[in-house]
């Protein structure tokens, strides 16, 4: 099976920032991503959990974006201003994808 180099960018970020993040991605032409729900976690700002919460203020999401290596920098630069000042973590992992024409 033909595989292609790619990067898997995983952003854990507050749910209230969803629109800002996806807009930033779209502005640099990244229209492929998947959003996973997050149950809870822990970080510099303490532990939290979604259970029983009504407000979106204290929930997070994980945005996963598979992207060609050569577009990674544009993506990260688009992300940076949104992440800045906000709670969240970003990791970039080398990966391989099928059907590369789409990324």
């Amino acid at each position: 099976m033909q595989m292609h180099d790619a990067r898997r960018v995983e952003v854990m970020i507050e749910a209230v920032m969803e629109k800002q993040i996806t807009r930033a991605l779209e502005e640099v032409g990244v229209t492929g991503y998947t959003i996973l729900p997050v149950l809870g976690g822990s970080g510099a700002s303490g532990r939290w959990t979604r259970e029983g919460q009504v407000s979106r203020a204290f929930s997070m999401i994980a945005v996963i974006c598979l992207i060609s290596p050569h577009r990674l920098d544009a993506l990260l630069e688009a992300l940076f201003p949104v992440l800045d000042e906000h709670i969240g973590v970003v990791s970039v992992t080398d990966t391989h994808i099928l059907r590369a024409e789409r990324f």
Binding site: K19, G46, T49, G52, Q53, V54, S55, F58, S59, H86
Partner: protein, 326 residues
């Protein structure tokens, strides 16, 4: 005084309050009793739907006049104004609190807590005291303006903050405002006929759902209190208890000027006294991300909400009745 104590005592022993206390206790004891997020949201949608519709149906029944518009306007003004009062008060009482954090807290106190509103109206109903149905529209109108004041306070204090069109949409088309006002409008339009159709869903079971919801709120409030011991200084606690009283005083003045009924005044006091813990925190996370959420959430949900629920509301009711002669 006697009356206040008896009202407060009666209130403290109502199932609604006791379930809140159960939730706090379970959470402090670290029980694993929790509600799925979807259920908590579902209950809050139900409550907004029900109180919006009931408010509208009541306006349809009693007719609306200029007083509705005036009350809504007064609510907007209060919501813009109260953050300045709250800002000043917290800066005096809790000196360690930064300008940024004070601005964020202030936004919460200018806005309202819809569950506190519901608790007040159900206590009024239980006591046979009527209030204007349009107070639900006032509640909706008071949700958002305070956010603008909070951002202004933060920007003026050089603490940053930004206000873009996204944030405006987030604030004005916030789901809870839309549902509350939408259901209010539909209740108004369909009136008695509409009410007859859906009353068995929104009237009779309402109190029971409210108990379950307050159990959940208690769990979340207890968790908050447990997590946020660091931020709870004496000055912060003092603010969390004084500010609702100050807010209620503003609400009282406005209610009397507007010539509301005793119940209406009590509701206006409750709205002014209450602090948001759903819409405003979300807006603050977007606009003032560096403000400390532990501070404003502990204050709104961990201190002021229980205070209003247990002692505040009976007090506001008693004052409103005494001063309106109602």
């Amino acid at each position: 005084m006697d009356q206040i104590l008896s009202l407060a005592g009666q209130n403290l022993l109502s199932p609604v309050i006791l379930f809140f206390v159960l939730g706090v206790a379970a959470s402090l004891a670290r029980s694993d009793l929790t509600f799925p997020e979807a259920i908590a949201k579902g209950m809050s949608l139900y409550l907004l739907f029900a109180i919006g519709f009931k408010g509208g149906a009541s306006v349809a029944q009693h007719g609306a006049d200029i007083s509705l518009g005036l009350a809504v306007l007064a609510g907007v003004v209060l919501s813009f104004l109260l953050p300045f009062v709250a800002f000043a008060l917290i800066r005096v009482l809790a000196r360690g609190v930064s300008v940024l954090d004070a601005a964020a807290v202030a936004g919460h106190y200018g806005s309202i807590s819809i569950v506190t509103f519901v608790a007040a109206t159900s206590l009024l109903t239980a006591g046979g005291i009527v209030h204007e149905g349009y107070m639900v529209a006032v509640a909706a109108a008071m949700e958002a303006p305070a956010i603008v004041s909070a951002l202004w306070l933060a920007m003026r204090g050089g603490a940053g903050g930004k206000m873009d069109s996204d944030l405006w949409r987030e604030i004005l088309l916030n789901g809870s405002i839309v549902l509350l006002l939408g259901a209010f409008a539909i209740g108004w339009i369909t009136g008695e006929r509409g009410m007859a159709e859906i009353a068995p869903f929104i009237v009779a079971p309402f109190k029971g759902v409210l108990c379950l919801f307050l159990l959940d709120m208690g769990i979340v409030a207890g968790r908050e209190l447990r997590a946020a011991r660091r931020v709870v200084t004496p000055g912060v606690v003092a603010f969390g208890i004084l500010m609702p009283l100050v807010g209620a005083a503003f609400g009282l003045a406005v209610g009397l000027v507007l010539g509301l009924s005793a119940g209406g005044v009590a509701v206006m006091m409750t709205l002014s006294a209450s602090a948001s813990y759903i819409a405003v925190p979300a807006a603050m996370r977007v606009a003032l991300p560096r403000a400390n959420p532990a501070l404003y959430l502990t204050l709104a949900l961990g201190i002021t909400f229980p205070f209003n629920l247990t002692l505040g509301i009976p007090l506001y009711m008693a004052l409103a009745q005494t001063l309106t002669g109602g």
